[in-house]
Amino acid sequence: MAWIGIAQDLVADGLVPTPSDAALGLPTPSVGQPGAANQTSRLAAGSPVGKMPTSAPRGDTDAASSQGLGRRIALALGAGFVVIVAGVLSSGSKPRSSASFPVHEAPLPAVNPTAAPPLASPRPAAPVRDRAVVRHRKASRPSSLGKSAAEADDGAAPTAAGSSAAPVPSEPAPSPTPAPSQPVPVKTLDLQQIRDFERNL
């Protein structure tokens, strides 16, 4: 094969490092570089393996140290890559436990059926609040007016001589049963109510 012959020529000329050179961390010789020509001869002369020759030229030392640094960086990157790949593979192959759910499969919080919903509690009716305000005002009224707070709370109407401030009238709660004997005002329907009924006629 032609390319094998070319490669053997390059190795023979010292332009391509042999596997043993690469294992020793020796620099790749190039044309014009000091020491390129006697690379093979130095190895043949019995230089200790893994040890830089003491009489090596300065250019050889710098190249060797830079190549060692490159190897260490490459090894670190490779190790990191292996660690990452191992982590990915191990996490992908790990069976999903019943306790760990992805976010979109997280179980809903348990609902207590006996607990009342937060918005279900009715607001107190206005008339009740008004009555409470009236009761509070009556209770805080000074007793020098000639009437005790307990008497005022009995529902007796305050007399004009006994109280200077008129009580706040509270709206009566609508009676669920129409009282049969209550006086009926004649005109209480407003125009909008009339229109609502008229729409059905």
Partner: protein
């Protein structure tokens, strides 16, 4: 008799004839049917002459439950227990002690059972004069249909586009009176409010 100029062409004559036919049909549809001598009764009472207490008692006896009303001229009842198809509420309007109208309402849009209600109405009062033959069809009845009775009383069945059903018994003359009073009151209130707030708008 000379023919008007716009009727000179044949197409114009056909168009005019179609318009005249359409107007005749729509006028006949909108017109209330001829007065009947039948007295309109509700809960075994001649409602036009029934007093307020009398009508209240009759509604309660039939199964109506009084509900609170914000207007002293209107009595509200829940009538689910009466057992009419699709009708769940009844409003009765009085002017003083005089009956003005009673209006049944369905529970809401797409009320079920209105077909049975229409068939029951036809069974008792006959086909409404303004109705087509499909009044009792399963998905028919949309629109307004009127039966007329003695002394200006009317019964109106109305089904809205969305399926809500209203059934109204009305003394038309009293309703017109109440409407006029409400309009007068509204006009007076508007005048007073405009005078009181004239510097604010």
């Amino acid at each position: 008799m000379p023919r008007p100029p716009f009727l000179s062409s044949r197409s114009n004559r056909i168009g005019a004839a179609l318009i005249a036919l359409a107007l005749t049909k729509s006028t006949a549809w909108a017109e209330s049917p001829g007065s009947s001598d039948t007295v309109l009764r509700l809960f075994d009472l001649e409602i036009q002459k029934a007093g307020r207490d009398e009508l209240r008692a009759a509604i309660r006896k039939a199964g109506g439950t009084p509900k609170p009303s914000k207007n002293s001229s209107i009595d509200n009842f829940a009538v689910d227990a009466i057992g009419l198809p699709t009708l769940t509420a009844l409003e009765v309007v009085f002017r003083g002690n005089d009956f003005v109208l009673a209006a049944y309402h369905s529970g809401g849009a797409h009320a079920s059972g209105d077909e049975r209600l229409r068939k029951m109405l036809v069974e008792k009062y006959g086909m409404p004069p303004s109705a087509a033959k499909n009044f009792t069809d399963p998905y028919g009845g949309e629109g307004k249909y009127t039966w007329s009775f003695a002394n200006g009383m009317k019964l109106v069945y109305k089904k809205s586009f969305f399926g809500a059903v209203d059934l109204t018994y009305v003394d038309q003359a009293r309703f017109d009176t109440v409407k006029k009073e409400a309009a007068d009151t509204d006009r007076e209130d508007t005048r007073k409010q405009a005078r009181a707030k004239s510097n604010a708008f």
